[in-house]
């Protein structure tokens, strides 16, 4: 009797597993295989073992890109998550007027594709008809060059914060909704005000949700592509083909036709993201 349902299990899981094997494991395996070869002008494709990986680890352009997205992660993500946390706590506190409007409005940018968000912000930052440049023109001050070398990473961070703060806010807010009411009742009996409730009950209850948001942000930062790819046209001298690791992998595979090396770079990038994610998990779970 107990073995009969088990046989049916495959009916449910097989379609997913089949697609997973063909569209997830197979590409990874094939790319791993390709990354062990090198396409040479003389002699064609030859097996080179881990040479591509050795080359990548000494590739200044790749390392520069990884350093840049790491810096981006360390600065942009805390700001974004703090904004998300503040809005989530405010909306949940019951102290806010128009809470529904704030919640919806903050989340709205998530429905905007990163391509559209970047085009929009590119025009807003730009010297041609960006409002800041126009204001500077009219009031006679020199607006900062938001697409220049000094500001570009900040401008990029602003786009990503705008796009994803609301998404993270919803993760945190919906986690807050599941905190059992008894905990608040107990706090109210103790005479705790809303700030103390937020600090002692809500934020501790948000730990798993914050962790999830943090892990998603690791992935998002390290694979940054659409935003720098589109801003490249507006700031060609600042954003080169290796500005982020993903931009570099794209350039290697499709512009300079180094497919084998691009496969190795993709792999290393995936590995970096896994390692950083696990470091984040390790650091946050140890503190408990």
């Amino acid at each position: 009797m107990s073995s009969k349902p088990a046989n049916h299990a495959y009916l449910f899981v097989a379609p997913f597993l089949l697609c997973f094997a063909l569209l997830f494991l197979l590409p990874l395996g094939y790319a791993a295989y390709l990354s062990l070869f090198k396409d040479q002008l003389v002699g064609g494709t030859v097996f080179v073992g881990l040479d591509n990986y050795g080359r990548a680890l000494q590739d200044g352009r790749l390392l520069g890109g990884v350093g840049r997205v790491a810096l981006f992660f360390l600065v942009q993500v805390p700001i974004m998550l703090l904004v998300a946390l503040a809005v989530a706590l405010a909306v949940d506190s019951g102290l806010l007027r128009l809470a529904r409007l704030v919640r919806l409005g903050t989340f709205l940018p998530y429905a905007v594709p990163s391509v559209v968000a970047t085009l929009m912000c590119g025009y807003l930052y730009g010297p041609d008809f960006g409002p800041l440049a126009q204001l500077g023109d009219r009031l006679g001050f020199d607006p900062p060059d938001l697409l220049g070398d000094g500001w570009l990473l900040v401008s990029l961070g602003n786009i990503v914060t705008w796009e994803f703060a609301g998404y993270n806010m919803i993760i945190l807010y919906s986690a807050l909704r599941t905190v059992p009411a008894e905990r608040y009742e107990a706090a109210a009996i103790d005479g705790a005000g809303p700030w103390r409730v937020a600090w002692h009950i809500k934020i501790p209850a948000l730990r798993p949700a914050l962790l999830l948001a943090l892990i998603f942000s690791v992935i998002g930062s390290f694979q940054l592509f659409a935003e720098p790819n589109l801003l490249q046209r507006l700031a060609p001298t600042v954003i080169d083909s290796a500005y982020t690791p993903n931009l570099y992998a794209y350039h290697l595979a499709f512009t300079s036709q180094q497919v084998n090396y691009a496969a190795a770079v993709s792999f290393l990038l995936g590995l970096v993201i896994l390692v950083v994610s696990y470091v984040v998990l390790f650091l946050t779970s140890r503190r408990r």
């Binding site: 899981v13 379609p15 503040a86 806010l96 993760i171 999830l212 790819n229």
Partner: protein, 283 residues
């Protein structure tokens, strides 16, 4: 306690709200302007001439009406991918949650371990396989990779574990119902909220996808709206020369492209607000 409202907090939050709505406000204003007015009038307020209708016409007629085609492509890709990914994740999530079968633990571990594999790190490997298989530059190149959502499976696994009581399944089995009948008649109904959440998020992911279609497709006939708008904006940089008028079409096309998703989110509020927490609360 619920009746005390804080004005300071409200003002602070409204300031943040202005930050989030400001670019969208600019986009609405800008899409009512001709390319010339974009340059000559202040960006944050309307120009004397109201060009929105003309801009919409220009957007839809430019280059043989390719914008409408891109919108249709996006809709098709997003709906098929999201429906497929949701079905696969719902079935498998239930299977993993309620059946003990050989290899369940390791398989689940393997799939959940790949939740952190970034989609773009997978995109180039997928391109390499698809170019061997002759699938590059076809709609399948965009749809197939979007069918597998490890995160969707993760959400559905947790959801099925909590929302479907094991007693209910036992009772149905004692009544002699087959496993498939149990799933479709008894289980599916209680999985719907979780499934709609997965549907919404895979829908957004495919609608907004840029990297995958960019590398997979060469033929503008197959472009989704993201790649199409990006190619237009590349031609319209600076707003001068032969393509000067295109700039207004890029701006208006951007606005039109976000309307369907915003409408979907407003209509399905109930789902993304409750379902999103499933993954975050547990564990």
């Amino acid at each position: 306690m619920r009746s005390r409202r804080s004005t300071t907090l409200t003002i602070g939050m409204l300031a943040l709200l202005v930050y989030f709505l400001f670019p969208l406000f600019w986009l609405v204003v800008a899409s009512t302007k001709s390319t010339a007015d974009l340059f000559s009038t202040f960006g944050l307020w309307f120009a004397g001439d109201f060009s929105l209708i003309g801009n919409i016409r220009a957007t839809f007629t430019h280059n043989g009406g390719e914008y409408a085609r891109w919108m249709a492509n996006t809709l098709v890709y997003a709906v098929i991918s999201a429906a497929g990914a949701t079905s696969l994740a719902t079935l498998a999530g239930y299977g993993f949650a309620h059946y003990a079968f050989r290899g369940r633990g390791p398989l689940l571990g393997l799939i959940l371990g790949t939740v952190m594999v970034p989609t773009t790190a997978l995109a180039i490997p997928t391109y390499l396989v698809f170019s061997e298989a002759g699938l590059v530059n076809t709609p399948w190149a965009v749809i197939l990779p979007s069918l597998v959502s490890p995160f969707g499976l993760f959400l559905m696994w947790i959801y099925a574990r909590d929302a479907v009581p094991g007693d209910l399944l036992e009772a149905a089995r004692i009544d002699g119902a087959g496993e498939l009948a149990i799933f479709f008649r008894v289980v599916l109904r209680s999985l719907v909220p979780g499934s709609v959440t997965v549907l919404l998020f895979t829908l957004v992911a495919t609608w907004n996808n840029y990297f995958l279609p960019l590398i997979m497709l060469n033929d503008p006939r197959y472009y989704p709206i993201t790649v199409g708008l990006s190619s237009w904006s590349a031609q319209a940089v600076g707003g001068t020369g032969a393509n000067a008028e295109l700039l207004a079409a890029v701006v208006t096309g951007s606005l039109l492209s976000i309307v369907p998703l915003i409408a979907a989110f407003l209509l399905l509020q109930r789902y993304w607000q409750s379902g999103l927490s499933t993954g975050a609360v547990k564990e």
